[in-house]
């Protein structure tokens, strides 16, 4: 069973049931459909980060590097005024991001803890500057996506990405697949070694496993999926700009993943929705949303250590 905890088996179906039917009760271009789509896409990003941070033990503040690459790769590779195939470009973008992760990971994964953190941050900052200072990629303003891709497979097309409701379902479908994918991988033989490597790296190496190879593989997987999220985000709003690469993006995602429950994977959904929900709610009340959030984070570290999923699990698991 890929969902081992009772809490997961309750919360996950609940979420997807609600998410599946919600748009049917709202008009297609309602503000909420768009807003929830964005949160779903963000959840994919946060989920891939939770995998890296919570399950593999790679604490990175540079995950936004791949978020940005997802969007920018699409703009770089696709012709400006022509509709390309979504699935083909997903393959391109994920493959190239995986390659970037492979190369950067090979360089930096031999460093430990704090160094790794600093270097990942510096790398995403470097990409920020690369695109910010670039002339051909729009510099600080970024670039627009004028034509969204089409989604045909063997000539059969059933999703129109210009329709917010269709885009919503694509995002939801992607989120579901991402969740299931991570759960399957973590339950696999590969996942067993990853779990062991996180709990006791010395012993795992003493047992003869090449931990570096396992971590690198995980880094590639997590980064490729982070890029996919960035790709979707870019498509939804029709633009890319260097703000995709900032530490604020990485930091916020980290906060969301821990708010939801580090390492739980499904917690990423809880954390992202809670954070965004709170922000939406409070931004209308006060300008000082950031102050509230910052204090909440500090209190959370001191008091509520296992996130929302942890709290729910305490209630629901016997």
């Amino acid at each position: 069973m890929i969902f081992e905890k009772r809490t997961e088996r309750i919360i996950v179906p609940m979420f997807f049931m609600v998410a599946l039917f919600a748009p049917l009760f709202l008009e297609s271009n309602s503000f909420f459909v768009g807003k929830v789509t964005t949160i779903i896409i963000l959840s994919i990003f946060v989920m891939s980060l939770d995998f890296l941070v919570g399950r593999v033990g790679l604490i990175t503040l540079g995950h936004a590097l791949f978020y940005g690459m997802g969007g920018y790769l699409f703009v770089i590779l696709s012709p400006e005024y022509e509709a390309v195939n979504f699935w083909v470009y997903t393959l391109y973008i994920c493959s190239i991001s995986a390659l970037i992760a492979l190369v950067t990971g090979a360089m930096i994964l031999r460093t430990k803890g704090v160094y790794f953190l600093m270097i990942t941050l510096a790398l995403s900052q470097m990409m920020f500057y690369y695109f910010f200072d670039s002339l051909e990629y729009g510099g600080g303003d970024g670039m627009f996506i004028f034509v969204r891709p089409e989604t045909s497979i063997f000539g059969l097309s059933f999703l129109d990405l210009d329709d917010p409701q269709h885009f919503y379902y694509l995002a939801l479908f992607s989120l579901f697949n991402t969740l299931v994918f991570f759960k399957v991988v973590l339950r696999s033989r590969f996942g067993r070694v990853v779990e062991a490597a996180k709990q006791n790296p010395d012993r795992t190496e003493a047992l003869g496993y090449n931990i570096f190879a396992f971590r690198l593989t995980c880094y590639v997987i997590g980064s490729a999926l982070g890029a996919y999220a960035g790709f979707l985000f870019a498509l939804q709003f029709g633009f890319v700009n260097p703000s995709f690469f900032t530490w604020e993006m990485s930091g916020m995602a980290l906060v969301m993943s821990i708010l939801g429950g580090s390492g739980t994977i499904y917690g990423a959904i809880l954390g992202t929705f809670t954070y965004e929900g709170l922000q939406y709610f409070f931004e209308h009340l006060t300008k000082e949303w950031l102050l509230f959030m910052g204090s909440a984070i500090i209190l959370m570290v001191i008091l509520l250590r296992k996130g929302i999923a942890g709290y729910l699990e305490k209630l629901l698991e016997k």
Partner: protein
């Protein structure tokens, strides 16, 4: 021959700057015998063990496994050859079940470790190997217990089970009875008596009663140098050994 040489060292040395942790040690470890290794603190026992399992590379000298020279290989190649090592400080996976602990040990040799999709529980060979290892040390009824929740003595047994799960040809045991009470130690002694019928065992220990009872051959190290390797009685009678342990043995006799 019944007692083939499994592991052998030839003039094995490890120097750290001016300090000779292990100095020209030549030893032979034979199958189905238990080789005790003792010596006062700082004698080089741990360093020797680390070189035997590949985590430390010698400054000079060689390590041979079944006639082949292996000292320059990576640690995981040692494991692949069946050279298994347990740790003095309990080094298990606390949040996993005992079965999972042994399963991780066992999984490596069955391959498919980069398989991202097949469930870890589906491989019967791995499961059987893990269960067998647990049974060998007498932990069958703890199969599904979380490792952090079993007693200290049982955790030490689990340490040994994890080594057994790799299907070893030699067990390098680093103070398996460290921190144990009398009864728990007896259990381990019985276990090792059983195991030495099948495996070659190298036992580093401070518990002298256990060493004298279990060792077929006893090696004494002092300041990195190999003092003597012989039967327990001959070693105990040797005056050089008494010198090396000067004071320590008197203490032992007083507390015995």
């Amino acid at each position: 021959m019944i007692n083939d040489i499994v592991l052998e060292t030839e003039a094995l040395s490890k120097h750290w700057g001016g300090i000779k942790a292990v100095d020209e040690v030549s030893l032979q470890f034979r199958d189905r015998l238990l080789h005790g290794v003792v010596g006062p603190n700082g004698a080089g026992k741990s360093t020797l063990l680390n070189m035997l399992c590949g985590t430390l590379k010698p400054t000079s000298g060689c390590v041979f496994h079944k006639g082949q020279r292996i000292d320059a290989l990576k640690p995981w190649k040692f494991v692949q050859r069946g050279i298994g090592r347990s740790f003095q400080k309990t080094n298990i996976y606390p949040e996993m079940t005992c079965l999972e602990n042994c399963a991780i040990s066992a999984q490596r040799r069955f391959g498919g470790n980069f398989n991202l999709f097949v469930s870890r529980h589906s491989n019967k060979l791995v499961r059987k190997a893990a269960e067998q290892a647990l049974a060998q040390v007498g932990l069958e009824d703890r199969t599904h217990a979380i490792a952090a929740e079993i007693s200290y003595g049982e955790q030490r047994q689990l340490e040994i089970a994890m080594v057994l799960a790799i299907d070893p040809c030699i067990l390098l045991l680093d103070e398996p009875m460290a921190g144990m009470g009398h009864d728990e130690s007896l259990r381990i002694i019985e276990l090792l008596k059983e195991l030495k019928k099948t495996y070659c065992i190298v036992l580093v220990e401070h518990d002298m009663d256990a060493i004298f009872e279990l060792s077929d051959q006893l090696t004494v190290l002092d300041n990195g140098r190999h003092l003597i390797t012989s039967s327990v009685d001959e070693v105990r009678a040797d005056p050089r050994v008494k010198d090396a342990y000067l004071g320590a043995e008197d203490e032992e006799e007083q507390t015995a």
